[in-house]
Every structure is written in structure tokens, then in C-alpha cells.
Amino acid sequence: MKRHTQAELRGSCRGLAGLLMVVFVALAVAASGCGGSVAREFPSYVYGSSTSLAAYRAAVENPEVLAAVPCYCGCGRTEGHGSLKECFLRPEGSFDEHAARCDLCQKEALDAVKWHAGTGDLKQTRALIDQKYEGYGPPTDTPLP
């Protein structure tokens, strides 16, 4: 049994080294991913996932974009929201927990900000959001930009 365990340990050390290499590569990949440039304090519920944090950061940096697009998660009827912005930020400026629990709001916000960065036009951004998300649920009653 001693010979078997020693041989396995040698292989195991190689395996562990390989595992560490992969971990470091993964860290590098992760670090090169969503870094986020805003240093700002958010409530703890925002930090439930990387997508949630990225979406709230995007909302804080681009409130006018989110105010121009509707949310299709159904919150217009259940929460009385008037736009995607209200899923993240209340009218008085404080944070709303709704988007932290809704993956659809997060995806929409990230898409809206990404497309607006590409088009620079709120009307086009709105059209793209409507085109992609109109089948997901009833939209909020958001006026066209």
C-alpha cells in the first residue's frame, strides 16, 4: 500500500500544481472581465451576483438611458414602476431592491447601456430593447424618448 500511496502522491502533486495553474488562469480571466470603474457604496443586496453589481453600476452611471426604456418583467403592474430606472433607483434617489432580485431587469439594463454606448441614440436603444424583450412580459408605461 505504501508504494501505491507514494506513486499516487507524486501524481497528486502534479495534479495539484495543474489545479493551481488553472485557478490562476481563471483569476486572470475573471480579472480581465467585469471590473467596473465606479467606486461607490451600494446596499449589500446589490452584491448578490456579478451581474447585479454590474447592472446597478450601469444604472448609476446611465440613469437617463434606463429612464427612457420600459421594463418587461411585469413590475409595471406589480410594483407600479414607470421605467427600467425605477427598478434600480427610486424617484427620490435611493436604491430599490427590486432589480437585485430580478435577472431580467439586470439583463435589460446591461443591454440598454451597451447598445446606447454603441448607437448614442436613445430612440434606437429603445427600439432595440423593445425588439428583444417584448415577449418576456407586459412593459412599464414608459413614454418614448
Binding site: T5, A30, Y47, G48, Y136
Partner: protein
């Protein structure tokens, strides 16, 4: 139907008689429905076809359906139903899932359609396969949080498609089910969990004595040999037996039997404990804990503190460091415990590490099941309604997440208690087997570490948890 190339010769140790075959329970193959099923030419094809069809449908729905985890059958079927139910299936039926698995079915399909001389897996793959599987499993676990796999139908479908392509590619190159044995990301895990099963398939040494053809391993004109390169005659573990029934059909001496047994009975009887498997058992304890804690509401507070009070601004970097650190902490503590255990009870630390690692398996399983029972009970009904609604079979789909919290807590803590008791029992049996002196010297450090881990899981199960998906 022999393989197109001669299989690798068996080593002498492989032909030894397995230790401790449990004759206390009757042979289930003598029960007509079970015996007829496992001896049938249609088994396991009759199960593989529907699972393969569902698997392909999941991939298609994942790519083409609604891109929202709580409303797409791909994510719901995979993460709300399959992943929580898998460990339960492994405990009840051993590694049977691996027989009906769509990846296994695809391997069989490729090897039936494309017939040419294939390679036998070399020593390098055989020796390091477990580490490949562990790395792949760790990567998928990390990606689950870093990329939000369980809430993304597209990523779920992509991962399944990649696994399908890999399985079929390996099947073109290597004989038998090499992918399942040495490369599948959950292959090592299913094998390890299967060692706790309440059933086992073993041969009768006295019936095997006159055999010179080794049909159970090599196959014959009627049926192929063991797809996972196991030799039933000397098989002492469920780890590489997927109950495909090939050996039952191939054996001319009717030697192979399927019996009920005490759960985990083989775990204190291994003649050759494997370092990699012991490592995986402790790794599972750490991974299950981390996968549970990052779904609690308290996780947000931890990440807020880590991101806002350190120079690291990236969620994924902080998560990755926590992931690696958590695993390193559990394994590091286990290393210390093994040192203390071997110092007091005698024996080499390396042997102690490999042998006692299996004792933690019930705890890992309990953590896995206890966490997922909450998702299954709270989200299963609404997930089921959603899936049926998308198939046009239900009037109302969606709805809120519910479930009786008291029931969930009762089940979670009950499962945890069973797991802890199982682990303590195992550590006592393993301690006695190795001839440790004093026995308590080898056992107490591990038992204390198990108590610490049990307490950590119990605390975790008390914390409010986020659902898998929003519906």
C-alpha cells in the same frame, strides 16, 4: 461484439477475490422484474433514448427559448430538478445515472455508427483522469457563480453542447466509455457518491473460479464488455460500476449479483484507498459549503465589505479568491487533522489522509442534499408549472416561490444529522480497520473536525437563502 482492438491485459491484482462481499441480502436479479430488465437487450437503451431526446431538447430550448433562467425549461430542468435529484439517485441506485446519461448514450451511438480500430486509454490518462475530472468540475462550479450558469439558458445550453461534443469526440478516438471513466466533469463525483449507495453489483468468486474467457470484462459475441473497464470478478467498489448490465448478460456462469447493502459499506473496506478520491471528498465538503453560502443573503454583506474596503473592484476576482481560499482552508485543515490523527494514532500521515477522507463523504452528501432540498421544495412546483405551461400542458404557469419553511428546515437538518452520524460512524470503522493504536487517537481529531463542519453547515442552513431563479 468484442471491441475492435484487444483490451489491455488485466493486472494480477485485478483478478483477486473481492473482500467482504455482503451475502446478507438476497440477489435482486432473482426478482423477476429486476432480472428481466437488466438482462434485457433493450436495457439500458430503453432509458437512454428518452434521456437523449430530452437532452437535445434542453440544448435547443436553451439556445432558442426565453433568455431568462426562471422561464426556460433548460435551466429549470437542469438546475432545479436534475442537479438536486442526482445525489439522491446515486445513493439509491449507485451510478445508474451514468448508464442512462445522454452523454453515455452519445458515446454508444458514435461507437455503433463509426467502426474502426480505437485506442486503449494510456497510463497517463488512467493515472491522471481523476485530476482532469476534478479540475473540470471545479471550473464548472466556479463558472456557475462567475458566469451565472444556473440562471442563463444560453450558457447552460452551451456547456451541455460542449460536453456532448467532447464525449462524442473522445468516443471516436478511444475504446469503450473512456470519457465517462476518466474525463467527464461529474464522473469522479458520481463515482464517489455511488460508494455510499444501498445497492452493489458483485460477482461470486466460487462461480468465477472456472472462467478463463473473462467475458464480463472482454465481452463476447452477444454483448460488449464493461464500458468503464471494470473487472466484476474482483470489483470491490461501486465507483466504476454504472449498472449497465453488460457483465450480467455476458457472464456464462451467472456469477454477477445485484444486492441491497448497508449504505457506504465499502468505504471502510477499501484495500487501496485513493488519494485523489479522498481529496475529492474533502473538496466536495468545501464546494458544497461555498455554493450554499453564496446563495444566502449574508453573502451580499460579505462581498460588499470585500469590494468596498479593498483595492479589488471586480466581483469575479473577489469571488474567485474566496472560492480558492475556502477550498484551501478546508483542505488545509484536513491536512492538519490528518497529521494530528496519525501522530496520536500511529501510521503514516499520507495513508491517514487517503483512508479517512472517505469518512467525510456522508457529510458532503448531506450538505449537497440539504441545500438542494430547499430549492426543490420551494421552487420545484413553480418550475414544474412553468415547464408544463411552455409545453401547453398547464392552464397557469409561473407564480411565486413558496414552500413550507418549517418543512424545508426539518428536512435539511434531518439530512445533515444523518450525514454527520454517517461520517462519525465511518471514521470509527476506518479507525478500527487500520490497526491504529490507540484507536481513539486516530479517530477523535477527525470526529472533532467533522463536528466543526457539521456546525458550519447547520449555521448555514439557518440563514435566509435566495432562490435559484426568479420566476
Amino acid at each position: 461484439m468484442r471491441s475492435s482492438a484487444e483490451p489491455e491485459p488485466l493486472r494480477a491484482s485485478a483478478t483477486a477475490t473481492p473482500a467482504g462481499v455482503d451475502r446478507g441480502f438476497p440477489d435482486l436479479l432473482a426478482f423477476p422484474p429486476v432480472g428481466r430488465l437488466l438482462r434485457s437487450r433493450l436495457y439500458p437503451l430503453v432509458f437512454q433514448v428518452p434521456t437523449f431526446v430530452v437532452f437535445v431538447a434542453i440544448i435547443l430550448v436553451g439556445f432558442l427559448g426565453v433568455d431568462r433562467g426562471g422561464q426556460n425549461a433548460a435551466t429549470l430542468l437542469t438546475w432545479t430538478f436534475w442537479w438536486p435529484l442526482l445525489p439522491l439517485a446515486l445513493i439509491l441506485t449507485g451510478r445508474t445515472w451514468c448508464t442512462i446519461c445522454p452523454l453515455s448514450a452519445s458515446v454508444g451511438l458514435v461507437q455503433r455508427l463509426v467502426r474502426f480500430r480505437r485506442r486503449v486509454p494510456g497510463a497517463l490518462l488512467r493515472r491522471n483522469g481523476i485530476w482532469i475530472m476534478i479540475l473540470a468540475f471545479l471550473f464548472l462550479t466556479w463558472a456557475n457563480r462567475a458566469w451565472g450558469t444556473h440562471s442563463s439558458p444560453r450558457i447552460t445550453a452551451l456547456i451541455l453542447l460542449i460536453l456532448l461534443a467532447l464525449a462524442m469526440g473522445v468516443a471516436l478516438w478511444y475504446q469503450r466509455h473512456t470519457f465517462c471513466r476518466w474525463l467527464c466533469p461529474i464522473g469522479a463525483l458520481t463515482g464517489l457518491y455511488a460508494t455510499t449507495a444501498v445497492v452493489e453489483l458483485r460477482a461470486r468468486p466460487e462461480a468465477c473460479a472456472p472462467c478463463r474467457t473473462l467475458d464480463c470484462y472482454r465481452g463476447n459475441e452477444r454483448v460488449e464488455g464493461c464500458p468503464l473497464y471494470e473487472f466484476p470478478r474482483s470489483m470491490e467498489s461501486n465507483r466504476n460500476c454504472n449498472l449497465c448490465g453488460n457483465c450480467i448478460k455476458a457472464c456464462p456462469y451467472d456469477s454477477v449479483q445485484l444486492r441491497l447493502r448497508s449504505p457506504g459499506r465499502e468505504l471502510w473496506r477499501f484495500r487501496r484507498p485513493l488519494f485523489g478520491e479522498a481529496f475529492l471528498a474533502l473538496l466536495m465538503v468545501a464546494v458544497v459549503y461555498l455554493q450554499t453560502v453564496d446563495m444566502t443573503l449574508a453573502w451580499g454583506g460579505y462581498m460588499k465589505g470585500a469590494i468596498e474596503n479593498t483595492p479589488i473592484n471586480s466581483y469575479n476576482v473577489v469571488f474567485s479568491l474566496t472560492f480558492v481560499g475556502g477550498i484551501a482552508a478546508v483542505l488545509g485543515l484536513y491536512f492538519l487533522v490528518s497529521r494530528v490523527s496519525s501522530a496520536i494514532g500511529g501510521g503514516r500521515m499520507r495513508v491517514n489522509f487517503a483512508t479517512f477522507g472517505y469518512a467525510y463523504l456522508p457529510l458532503a452528501l448531506a450538505g449537497h442534499l440539504g441545500h438542494n432540498v430547499a430549492h426543490l421544495i420551494r421552487e420545484g412546483p413553480v418550475a414544474g408549472r412553468t415547464i408544463l405551461g411552455q409545453m401547453g400542458l398547464a392552464m397557469a404557469s409561473g407564480g411565486g416561490v413558496g414552500g413550507d419553511s418549517a418543512l424545508v428546515r426539518f428536512l435539511a437538518f434531518g439530512i445533515l444529522a444523518l450525514g454527520a452520524l454517517g461520517s462519525w460512524y465511518l471514521v470509527w470503522r476506518i479507525g478500527g480497520r487500520g490497526g491504529a493504536s490507540p484507536r481513539w487517537g486516530a479517530v477523535v481529531p477527525h470526529a472533532a473536525f467533522m463536528a466543526l463542519l457539521t456546525g458550519a453547515f447547520a449555521h448555514l442552513f439557518l440563514l435566509p437563502m435566495n432562490p435559484l431563479h426568479t420566476h
